[in-house]
Every structure is written in structure tokens, then in C-alpha cells.
């Protein structure tokens, strides 16, 4: 049997809109993945550090304040500096399509908007393999 995936969930930025991420945390857990939810107000540095410490397969963040470009770029940069290529960086929030395309170019995975089905998010993370990036 394959090892269960380990996911770091975090809410970067200063706001407290965690209704979405809480629901996703419990859905991932119910799908037998190992979930480490860091909570609110996490900086990119804190998130990457936690991902390394926990040997995570996936980093998933929720951003609703419009700061997604800054945050995702920083996380990607930090991973690059550390030479890490096997971690999927994904997430969701209010992220316009154009920005999603740009983030995809720098290696960010699929991003989910409000109204996305839980099943879709869970199966995307479950079926993701490092080579598919």
C-alpha cells in the first residue's frame, strides 16, 4: 500500500477568513491524508520551514486578501533556494484567472476558487505525483 500523503495547510497573510481552509482540512483528513494545519498569519518562511520539518508532500494555502502573488512567489523562491522540487504547492482563494496562469508558469499547482467542489480538491491532491509537475 502506498504511504498516505502529508499536507501542510496554512493561512498566510493577516486576515482570519478560515471557513474554507477548516473545511478542507477536515475533508483531507477524512480522505486519510495526514494534515498539519498551521493556522492563521503564517509567513512564507514559517510555511516552508514547517513543510521541511514534517517532510510534507504538499503545501496548500488559502489566500483571500489579494496578496496571493507575493505569497506564492515567495514560497516558490524559498523552495528553489533550498533545492526542493518534490513538494506540490497548491491552494485556493480569490485568485483571478490571469494570476493563476502566471503562478502556474513559476511552478505553482492547480488553484481553486470559491465554489470549487471538495471532491475535486481532495482527488487532485490525492492523485498528484511528483513527476506530474
Amino acid at each position: 500500500m502506498k504511504k498516505n500523503k502529508k499536507i501542510i495547510l496554512a493561512k498566510p497573510g493577516l486576515d482570519g477568513h478560515d471557513r474554507g481552509i477548516q473545511i478542507i482540512a477536515s475533508a483531507l483528513k477524512e480522505a486519510h491524508m495526514e494534515v498539519v494545519y498551521l493556522g492563521l498569519r503564517q509567513t512564507p518562511e514559517m510555511i516552508v520551514e514547517a513543510a521541511l520539518k514534517h517532510r510534507a508532500d504538499v503545501i496548500a494555502i488559502s489566500v483571500l486578501t489579494g496578496s496571493h502573488m507575493t505569497v506564492f512567489r515567495k514560497i516558490m523562491k524559498l523552495l528553489e533556494v533550498k533545492g526542493i522540487k518534490h513538494i506540490l504547492v497548491t491552494g485556493g482563494g480569490i485568485i483571478p484567472e490571469e494570476d493563476q496562469k502566471e503562478l502556474s508558469r513559476i511552478g505553482v499547482g492547480k488553484l481553486f476558487n470559491p465554489g470549487a467542489a471538495l471532491d475535486e480538491i481532495v482527488s487532485y491532491i490525492k492523485n498528484w505525483e511528483p513527476l506530474s509537475r
Binding site: G13, L14, D15, G16, H17, D18, R19, I21, Q22, I23, A25, S26, K29, V35, Y37, L38, G39, L40, T43, T65, G66, S67, M69, T70, V71, I94, P96, N113, P114, G115, A117, L118, D119
Partner: protein, 521 residues
């Protein structure tokens, strides 16, 4: 919850024989039917659209546009750094300056925000909580510069910290010192700003976080009672401060339940203020409230449909007797609203107010078997919650135990489950889906805003007197460390010396500490 609604209501749902005693007439105790005898015939609700982005100068322009278009009061949206008490040049705020509201770092920004707008002629609502008292000091210092008399200032400071711990999570300090700051504002205004609403006790965010209507009602009122008790402990007289407590509710999709929720809220508040806390003045019994349509019911899919959702929610608020109203813009699941989207939202209210006749009859649903029965049910459910909250040691203790947070998380999960299972149809999301989504124009806020605001802030830092800054901060620290001292005066003095929000909050953190909450899922 939809399954708690009956299919058909009959007179058996009405309080037999005691209708007038239980429900009352509009403008009479217990105010189930509204706070005024003639409601909107006397005065329509205030159209108050929440606005703010970028720098103070840009938001000032949007304010003037809204006023020109017929808006009746202002409502300031602050950006996240301001809401959390950080300056725009703090390393913690990169990427968030001016994004979802206006950046206010010092009195200078407040001056520009209200340039050409006379503060004694307009009412202003300010949605801020953690650092509310500091932003309020900036506002008062700004009014003083305009030579406006404090006695003529009208408006509302949200200043409701309890719901931050419960739902919105934008706290700075731990609950106890935070409550003291809330009461400092109440005490100061009771003396000097008789027209100012000192707290806007908010259910809006509790509902947005995923609560049910009954939870929104119960938790909000429980918070209200806590502010009353804290003010009484301070030695304030109930009939002096209670008339200036105001409320803020969400208007969600379930039309009749929402209307009933507003009616139940008025009745519970009136009863409790009169008989439990012994308030004598009629004004102390009145629950006056602002309503915002539910942001969480907007969909990213087929965004134009949101105009319709918002219109129905607005109608529920008006039939529930709201005193002021914000209607959301159709594009808010995608970005901050464009001018066009804001204009449609504003027009939605104007059509409601002038074209469809709802202002001509006072509480037209009073006596409806269904609405009266749902009102009673919500009142009972709220009472069950009050009892439980008391049993576990009151609101602050319930927060510390994570009680509200867990209840809301459960309800949010259930709601999502209903959508996933199609037990609840959301048009365009889980049914009536379009293959290709329409594209609508979106407002873009560029990174240059951050640089511009940091430049403005650094200019303020260069031109002020460092000696005055230090003296002000020393005074704040001393006042903060003395429980019996009201912080307001020292904060206004600091504002006048152009001490920044971040500097003041850091000083207060050194006395009060910071709060952390364990994530729940």
C-alpha cells in the same frame, strides 16, 4: 436550518390571546415589529455602502462619488495591515497594503480620507476592531482639526472584539485587555459624543464564518450582554450608555427565517435590557441595527446572478426593519468591486426604497402565522444557547474553551455537505452550470499602491517631532498599565503628534501581550 421550517403555518403557531402583549405594536415594547411606530414612513433606512481601497486619497474620491450618487452615510473599509495594527512599512504586511481597504497609518491619512467632507455633517461608520480605539482617536483628532464639535459627530465604530475571537479572528490582544479598550470607548463617548454608536455588536461575521441563523442571533446578543455587564462593572449607568449600543446583522438566503431573526433579536434585547438589567429608558431597550447582505452567498460562477441574490437579501433586511443597509456588489467573489458593480448595488437599494412600495406599510409581515412562529422558535433556540453559555462561565470563558468556534465550524461543515450532496441547490454552482463562464471586467490594484503608501508614511515620520512622539508613547504605556485610567485622551494626544498606528499598537502589546488561538478543524 431549512429542515426546522414547517411546511405550512396556521393560527396555532401564534401566541394565543396574548398577541399584543407578546409581539406588541411597532414602536412599542417589546418592539418585535420595529423600533418606530411609523418605520420607513417616518424615515427610510440609511443607504450605507462599505468602501475603501488603496491610499486615503483614492478612497476619498470613491466616497465623493458615492455621496454624489445619493448615498446617505459613509462606511470605511480598512486594509488588513490597518485592521491588525501594523504600519504599511512593516515587514509583516508585504502584498497587503491597500488591497481590501484603505491604508491608515497616521492622522495624516485620516485627514486626506475626509478632505472636503465635513465630519459634523455626515455620519461615518468605521469597521475596525482590534485597534478600534486608536483609529477612533485618529478620527477625533481629525474632527478637531476640522473644528467640528465632538457633540455633533455621528457614526459608528464597530469596536466589537468578542466576535473576532468567535468568528472573524482579527484580534490583537487577549480578551480581557481588549474588553477594557471597548469599555474605554463606551465611557469616553457617553461623556462627550452623545450621537456616536460606541459598539456595533456584530452577527455578520459569525454568519459569514458559517453559523446558522439561530447561532448568529444567540452569539451576537450574548456578546451584547457581555458589553453591558463590563460597562456596568466600570460603574457606568445603563440608561446613559445602552442607547448608543448598536447591532449589525447578516441577511442570508433563507428569506422568512432572516426576517424572523431580526424580529426575535429586537424582542430578546428589549426584554433583557428592561427586566434583567433594569434599564428604565425606552431608548435603552431598542435594538437598532445595520444589515449587510451575505457575502458568503455570492458565487464566482455567473456573477451577474449575485445581483438577484443580493436584492432578495436586501428585501429581507427591509422587511425585518433594518436601520441601515449595505448591498454587496456582484463581483466580490472575484475581486474588489468595480465602480459599475458598486453602482448597481446602490441602485438595488434605491429601487427597493422608491419603486416597490415596501416603505409604505409598517412591518407588513407582522401577524403572519409563519413569521411569528419562526420568530418564537429562534427566540427559544437563542435562550437555550444563553443558558449553555452561562453554564460554562460566560462569553469570555466560552471563547477560551473554543465553544463558539466549534459550534460554527460544525454548522459550516454541514452547509458545505448539503451543497456537495445537492440537498441545497446553489444556482450556477451545483446545478444550472454553464460550460463556459462569462467574463466580467475586474478592478485591479497594482503593487504601486504599497510603495506610494510607504512613501506617504515615511514623509510623516520625517516631519514630526521625535520628542513629542516619545512623550506620547510613554504616556500611553503608563495609562495602559493602569486599569482605572481611560486611554482615550492619551491616544488622541498621540494622534495629534502623528504617532503611527503600528507604533501605538506595539506599545500596547508590550503591556497587554498578544493573543493566539489554536486552530480548529
Amino acid at each position: 436550518m431549512r429542515n426546522s421550517l414547517k411546511e405550512c403555518y396556521t393560527p396555532s403557531g401564534l401566541p394565543t390571546g396574548h398577541y399584543y402583549k407578546k409581539v406588541g405594536k411597532p414602536g412599542e415594547y417589546p418592539f418585535t415589529r420595529g423600533v418606530h411606530r411609523r418605520m420607513y414612513l417616518r424615515k427610510p433606512w440609511t443607504i450605507r455602502e462599505f468602501a475603501g481601497f488603496g491610499t486615503a486619497e483614492e478612497t476619498n474620491k470613491r466616497f465623493k462619488l458615492l455621496l454624489k450618487e445619493g448615498q446617505m452615510g459613509l462606511s470605511v473599509a480598512f486594509d488588513m495591515p490597518t485592521l491588525m495594527g501594523f504600519d504599511s512599512d512593516s515587514p509583516r504586511v508585504e502584498g497587503e497594503v491597500g488591497r481590501c481597504g484603505v491604508a491608515i497609518d497616521s492622522l495624516k491619512d485620516m485627514e486626506d480620507l475626509f478632505k472636503g467632507i465635513a465630519l459634523d455633517k455626515i455620519s461615518t461608520s468605521m469597521t475596525i476592531n482590534g485597534p478600534a480605539i486608536v483609529i477612533f482617536a485618529f478620527y477625533l483628532a481629525c474632527a478637531e482639526k476640522q473644528k467640528a464639535s465632538f457633540r455633533c459627530l455621528s457614526g459608528t465604530l464597530q469596536n466589537d472584539i468578542l466576535k473576532e475571537y468567535i468568528a472573524q479572528r482579527e484580534w490583537i490582544f487577549p480578551p480581557r485587555p481588549s474588553l477594557r479598550l471597548v469599555v474605554d470607548v463606551i465611557e469616553y463617548c457617553t461623556e462627550r459624543l452623545p450621537l456616536w454608536n460606541t459598539v456595533s455588536i456584530s452577527g455578520y461575521h459569525i454568519r459569514e464564518a458559517g453559523s446558522t441563523a439561530a447561532q448568529e442571533l444567540a452569539f451576537t446578543l450574548a456578546n451584547g450582554f457581555t458589553y453591558v455587564e463590563e460597562s456596568l462593572k466600570r460603574g457606568l449607568s445603563i440608561d446613559r450608555f445602552a442607547p448608543r449600543l448598536s447591532f449589525f446583522f447578516n441577511s442570508h438566503l433563507d428569506f422568512f427565517e432572516e426576517i424572523a431573526k431580526f424580529r426575535a433579536a429586537r424582542r430578546i434585547w428589549a426584554k433583557t435590557m428592561r427586566y434583567h438589567y433594569g434599564a428604565q429608558r425606552k431608548r435603552s431597550w431598542l435594538l437598532r441595527f445595520h444589515t449587510q447582505t451575505a457575502g458568503c452567498t455570492l458565487t464566482r460562477q455567473q456573477p451577474e446572478n449575485n445581483i438577484v441574490r443580493t436584492a432578495y437579501e436586501a428585501l429581507a433586511a427591509v422587511l425585518g426593519g433594518t436601520q441601515s443597509l449595505h448591498t454587496n456588489s456582484m463581483d466580490e467573489q472575484l475581486a474588489l468591486p468595480t465602480e459599475k458593480a458598486v453602482q448597481i448595488a446602490l441602485r438595488t437599494q434605491q429601487i427597493l426604497m422608491h419603486e416597490i412600495g415596501v416603505t409604505n406599510i409598517v412591518d407588513p409581515l407582522g401577524g403572519s402565522y409563519a413569521v411569528e412562529a419562526i420568530t418564537d422558535r429562534l427566540e427559544k433556540e437563542a435562550e437555550t444557547y444563553f443558558h449553555h453559555i452561562r453554564k460554562i462561565g460566560g462569553v469570555v470563558s466560552a471563547i477560551e474553551k473554543g465553544f463558539f468556534q466549534k459550534e460554527i465550524a460544525k454548522a459550516a461543515k454541514r452547509y458545505q455537505f448539503e451543497i456537495e450532496q445537492k440537498e441545497r441547490i446553489i444556482v450556477g454552482v451545483n446545478d444550472y452550470v454553464l460550460e463556459k463562464e462569462p467574463k466580467i471586467p475586474l478592478l485591479k490594484i497594482g503593487p504601486e499602491i504599497e510603495r506610494k503608501q510607504v512613501g506617504r508614511l515615511q514623509k510623516v515620520r520625517r516631519f514630526r517631532s521625535p520628542k513629542k512622539v516619545k512623550r506620547s508613547l510613554d504616556r500611553i504605556r503608563q495609562a495602559a498599565a493602569t486599569d482605572s485610567q481611560n486611554l482615550m485622551e492619551s491616544l488622541i494626544e498621540a494622534a495629534q503628534a502623528y504617532v503611527t498606528l503600528g507604533e501605538i499598537i506595539d506599545e500596547l502589546k508590550s503591556v497587554f501581550g498578544e493573543y493566539r488561538q489554536k486552530p480548529i478543524f
